[in-house]
Symmetry: C2
């Protein structure tokens, strides 16, 4: 399946560390398209692994992480209205 | 069509003001699901209007805004791995 993953980590004393970890984990499975947005093809087994890995960091009362799933990538078209590639994501 | 809109505004001296404006404009057309993530059904005409309104604020060399388009919402399924509703978006 094809997924878009977006996250928003609360900026408290642990926020920066958690963000870095979430970013690194997502990058192992998906393509980074914006600072906290990833996309890509993934199997259900790998999605489960990703869920388990992220579950160690995401705080269910503070952080938001949404997965949009599509059965086929061809149903999704992308438009860039600002910077084409995410040049803001190189800060890690 | 159904779209997911994600944006990332550079945090410079104008960043906060631009973010607030982008947020307000998007909220007129779409549903806010995470701090800088919106989704919803939109017609091509309204999408064009949204593009024009946002174009007044988005800086093409600094900010990122991506639109993912899907022909049918039923092709998209959503999972929340953190906070269910975006409680982080009430700060505007």
């Amino acid at each position: 399946m094809y997924i878009i993953l977006v996250y928003d980590i609360l900026s408290d004393e642990n926020g920066a560390r958690i963000s870095r970890n979430i970013f690194k984990i997502c990058k192992k499975y998906l393509t980074n398209v914006q600072k906290s947005v990833f996309e890509g093809e993934i199997t259900p087994v790998l999605l489960k692994k990703l869920n388990i890995e992220l579950g160690k960091f995401i705080r269910k009362d503070k952080d938001s992480l949404i997965i949009f799933k599509s059965r086929q990538e061809k149903w999704l078209e992308k438009e860039f209205w600002g910077i084409e590639d995410d040049k803001t994501s190189n800060f890690f």
